[in-house]
């Protein structure tokens, strides 16, 4: 899975945000604000990867246990699916 084209993520004044580009503006009104974990996962998802890849990357980056990592990933992926971003 992979984030759809047409979005960029940046850290603006201590806040990770995702903004749409081009005609995505119509379907994605405003911006998406992300915490550190979600922003990390978003950046992983800018390249094709699966849940195992995300889990390994998250555990390595944030030193969290596998159960916590999987829970965070499931929640974030569901958010992205709800917003049709992957």
């Amino acid at each position: 899975m992979k984030i759809k084209d047409g979005y960029i993520i940046r850290n603006i004044a201590d806040n990770w945000i995702v903004v749409p580009l081009g005609e995505k503006v119509v379907e994605f009104n405003g911006l998406l604000s992300l915490n550190e974990t979600a922003a990390f996962l978003w950046r992983q998802l800018e390249n094709e990867c699966d849940e195992d890849d995300l889990c390994s990357a998250l555990m390595s980056e944030f030193e969290v246990d596998e159960l916590t990592a999987k829970k965070d990933i499931d929640e974030f992926l569901q958010t992205l699916k709800d917003k049709k971003l992957i």
Partner: protein, 280 residues
């Protein structure tokens, strides 16, 4: 004609018939190098570029690559592409642009929206951004009021004029620029109320996000809160990633160098006094 707008040195070239009165208050005799040159041309036929444009809010943007250089084209999206009323053509580095206007169009009607469009993007390359706002100058300080539509921006600016003798710099749109760790506020030439360029610029003291309320209350915003509230009030270049990255970089530099407040208020003098106390 040489003008200075937002501290951008510009050369405007137009046919003799063209009306550039809007820019007369901004005439400049500066010896600084020209940052941007705009040709305004009358044309009897204007074609849209062949490339498929990105359309955002009824403005079409096409990026054309020729050899190693890019050019940007912009026009009103619902016009007949075989016979446009107007077309903006801009070079890759935002140093030179041509505004083509159909002979059949009265210039003053066409120039304002296209100039808005041009300046919204040109300023990105000069460390700034345009914001839907009313702006005032008070004791040499710039204050920008922004809000949702009908959120009381103009009302607040006029209250400051009435009770604090502030100057209304612009009632619809302001430019904000970050330069050398300072943040500056400018009026825009075609919407300014006080269009004297000397009065049109001030060091920005604060950005105040207004909310209508039954009780006056103000608080300083923490950094993570600012972007969510301020972003919707900014003119952003959704048509292109490179431009958006510049806009976000400028936003970051502005937000981290000037205080932002949220003020819930009634349209009354007490709200003005409350804010003034926070700003002294």
């Amino acid at each position: 004609m040489r003008v200075n707008i937002f501290d951008i040195q510009m050369k405007l070239n137009a046919d003799a018939s063209k009306n550039l009165e809007t820019f007369l208050p901004f005439l400049s005799s500066s010896g600084l190098p020209v940052d941007f040159e705009l040709d305004i041309q009358n044309c009897n036929h204007i074609d849209a570029p062949k490339e498929k444009p990105v359309v955002v809010e009824n403005i079409a943007w096409a990026t054309v690559k020729e050899n190693d250089a890019k050019r940007y084209y912009s026009f009103v999206a619902d016009e007949n592409p075989d016979r446009l009323d107007s077309l903006l053509e801009i070079d890759e580095n935002w140093k030179k642009a041509t505004l083509k206007i159909s002979d059949t169009i009265f210039l003053d009607h066409q120039i304002v929206p296209l100039m808005d469009l041009l300046f919204r993007n040109l300023i990105l390359y000069h460390d700034g951004i345009l914001v839907k706002s009313s702006s005032i100058k008070w004791k040499e300080h710039g204050i920008v009021f922004t809000a949702c539509p009908d959120g009381g921006k103009s009302t607040q600016a006029n209250l400051w004029k009435k009770h604090k003798n502030a100057l209304i710099v612009n009632d619809e749109m302001s430019a904000i620029k970050h330069q050398n760790d300072n943040v500056w506020m400018y009026g825009t030439p075609w919407r300014s109320i006080e269009s004297n360029p000397e009065e049109n610029k001030a060091r920005l003291k604060a950005v105040v996000i207004l909310e209508k309320a039954e009780k006056n209350h103000i608080r300083k915003l923490e950094r993570p809160e600012i972007i969510k509230r301020f972003y919707p009030r900014c003119f952003l270049p959704y048509f292109d990633q490179l431009h958006m990255e510049k806009a976000l970089e400028n936003l970051h530099n502005i937000i981290t160098n000037v205080p932002f407040y949220v003020m819930q208020c009634k349209p009354e003098k007490e709200a003005v006094d409350m804010l003034a106390q926070w700003l002294v």
